[in-house]
């Protein structure tokens, strides 16, 4: 059977299994097993057991539960409650004023959380009522909130980047560092847009109602400071080559526990809750990643990735063209799957194509994270749109309209990333040469 038929059969099997509500990891195993049994005589079972073992005992993956745990501990501190009150006093002088709390708050929170959906809910619950009460433009506050969740996924430590790094066998430390500049670029674009719009339409930004002395401002936000220091410490130790991703994650957990103890939110109950929540998320991700490792091997037996890779190189396909096609694919998948699932599903087939087209896998990881996050705010079925719908009571079109300018700014970020790949590759290259 030729790879095209194989590919179609397996895609149908996958879509049916996923749509039926079968667990993502189980669906991946089914597709891998069907592919191997139909198109090779290799021992499916022992290969599955071997791949499961190899992936779940890989050293690179040890960073995953620790970073998740760090996020869970911080999640149970006063962090989200302090975010608005801590950031607001500093932003009153910027054009756009408190609207920026969404961008910065999401940036900080998502850096430790790793899920843009959880970030939207946590920050939105605090900031949306505050902004509404003061008379800020609702459309823009919703749009900036939905989109800023994605921003945080670029800022290390990022769970989704660990998943990509493990699935695509790329250095997690370099991925983290590669995300810094694109993350800052996106933050700059979002905040710049908010500032420009408030200058153009002054009526949409209410007057400042916060008058605080410098000392009061510091007092108000001092509880945010340890978290910011922790994030900077994690990034800095990786960039400086002082620690591996795993070691910085362990330090992150210790730091998060100290922060929780310092803010008197560390109890035996909150400790075990955070640990068990981290255990569940890590187990879920480890099972999906194990299944995707088996799927990758099985795909190798079917010859589909090889076929696609040679097609790409034979057609002399322009990398930009390939990226456009892949972007459309990811956006469609993002309509009904979360970011992690999209990544584990596609890496086995996509990575050989990327290599054939001569695209840097580190750069591609950054690109992929942005595109996947674009997909969760794309109507009609973007995930974050629904979350905000339930949070605000507004209909989906109102929310999508609010997201649109930010969506376009993300497209702009992707375009910049394609035209100037150094935005993602410059820092990791520096790290490499040191």
């Amino acid at each position: 059977m030729d790879p095209v038929t194989v590919g179609i059969v397996l895609t149908v099997v996958l879509l049916v299994a996923l749509a039926a509500g079968i667990w993502v990891a189980v669906s991946l195993v089914i597709v891998g097993a069907v592919g191997m049994m139909m198109f090779s005589s290799a021992p499916v079972g022992s290969i599955a057991a071997t791949k499961f073992w190899e992936l779940s005992s890989s050293i690179a993956l040890t960073a995953l539960p620790l970073f998740i745990w760090m996020g869970e501990i911080l999640f149970r501190t006063q962090l989200s409650a302090n975010m608005f009150s801590g950031l607001a006093p500093w932003l009153t002088r910027l054009p756009g004023r408190l609207m920026h709390t969404n961008v910065l708050g999401c940036g900080i929170f998502a850096a430790v959380s790793g899920s843009s959906t959880a970030t939207c809910v946590t920050i939105g619950r605090m900031s949306l009522p505050e902004l509404k009460k003061r008379g800020y433009d609702e459309k823009m506050s919703i749009g900036s909130l939905a989109s800023a969740g994605a921003l945080g996924l670029m800022i290390p430590p990022s769970i989704i980047m660990i998943v990509y790094g493990v699935a695509a066998e790329v250095s997690i430390a370099r991925l983290f560092i590669a995300g810094i500049l694109p993350g800052l670029l996106m933050m700059f674009l979002f905040m710049g847009y908010i500032a420009i719009m408030s200058v153009l339409q002054p009526s949409r930004t209410p007057a400042s109602d916060i008058a605080m002395s410098f000392v009061d401002k510091v007092r108000n936000s001092w509880q945010l400071l340890p978290v910011v220091i922790l994030i900077l410490g994690v990034i800095g130790s990786i960039y400086g080559g002082l620690a591996t991703a795993t070691e910085s994650a362990a330090v992150g957990v210790v730091g998060a526990l100290l922060i929780a103890a310092g803010s008197r939110t560390l109890t035996w109950a909150s400790f075990t809750e955070s640990l068990m929540a981290a255990t569940r998320t890590s187990c879920m991700l480890a099972l999906i990643l194990s299944a995707s490792a088996f799927l990758s091997t099985a795909m190798g037996f079917t010859g589909i990735p090889r076929f696609l890779a040679t097609t790409v190189s034979d057609m002399q396909l322009d990398p930009a063209m390939l990226l456009v096609v892949l972007t459309l694919l990811f956006i469609v998948l993002g309509c009904f799957l979360d970011g992690v699932s999209v990544i584990v599903l596609t890496t086995s087939v996509v990575m050989p194509m990327i290599a054939a087209a001569g695209i840097d896998p580190i750069w591609f990881g950054i690109y992929l994270v942005i595109v996947v996050e674009m997909s969760v705010i794309t109507p009609p079925v973007g995930f974050n749109l629904y979350v905000l719908q339930s949070l605000t009571g507004r209909d989906i079109f109102f929310i999508a309209a609010g997201c649109l300018p930010f969506f376009l700014l993300m497209v702009l970020t992707v375009v910049i990333l394609i035209l100037v790949p150094e935005v993602a590759t410059f820092l990791p290259d520096q790290m490499y040469s040191n």
Binding site: F52, S57, T62
Partner: protein, 177 residues
């Protein structure tokens, strides 16, 4: 039978969490000892073994708490009369697949023992010692799926149903993942 199973799932979660904590402590010990100029041999490999053991041991517990993700978009849109048959189909498939994985992993541990395989690294140990926890964890996951399948056949709601909510319905908390 029910209390024994519930205890078993709790144990699954506790054992997994303990492995992750031990892994974290080992990595912290590695950092501290390096600062002191001492080298712990094979600590990376041992940390990875704790990771694997933890990841597999807590699988059953994770299922009971709705931790394993799936696409419920269509499932929740089905007519109510089809909810139960669809859930049965999912559970039967998952029970079969995890049963197969458990069976294969038990065999792979047996082969590691039979062939006297050792791990590679500065401090090699028999490979079946870390691997056996994969088999135990997958067998536990199979038992958890089978348990829910039997419950569903008796017409009860599966254990994870309480934790699964449709974000479109607007209710409930979104977990921090």
């Amino acid at each position: 039978m029910r209390p024994i199973l519930e205890q078993f799932y709790r144990l699954s979660g506790a054992a997994g969490a303990l492995c992750f904590v031990l892994m974290g402590l080992l990595i912290v010990a590695q950092i501290v000892s390096r600062l002191l100029g001492v080298y712990i041999p094979s600590s990376d490999d041992i940390a990875a073994m704790f990771l694997a053991a933890g990841s597999f041991l807590a699988l059953a517990y994770t299922l009971r708490h709705g931790g394993h993700i799936r696409v419920t978009l269509l499932l929740h849109r089905l007519p109510v009369s089809l909810h139960h048959p669809a859930e049965l189909l999912c559970l039967a498939t998952a029970t079969f697949v995890t049963g197969w994985l458990a069976y294969e992993s038990v065999w792979s541990v047996y082969y590691s023992w039979f062939l006297n395989d050792y791990t590679i690294g500065a401090w090699p140990i028999p490979k079946w010692i870390p691997q056996v926890w994969m088999a135990v964890g997958l067998v536990a996951l199979f038992i958890a799926f089978l348990d829910d399948l039997v419950m569903a056949l008796r017409g009860r709601a599966p254990s994870y149903a309480a934790y699964e909510h449709d974000p479109r319905s607007g209710a409930g908390e979104v977990p921090n993942e």
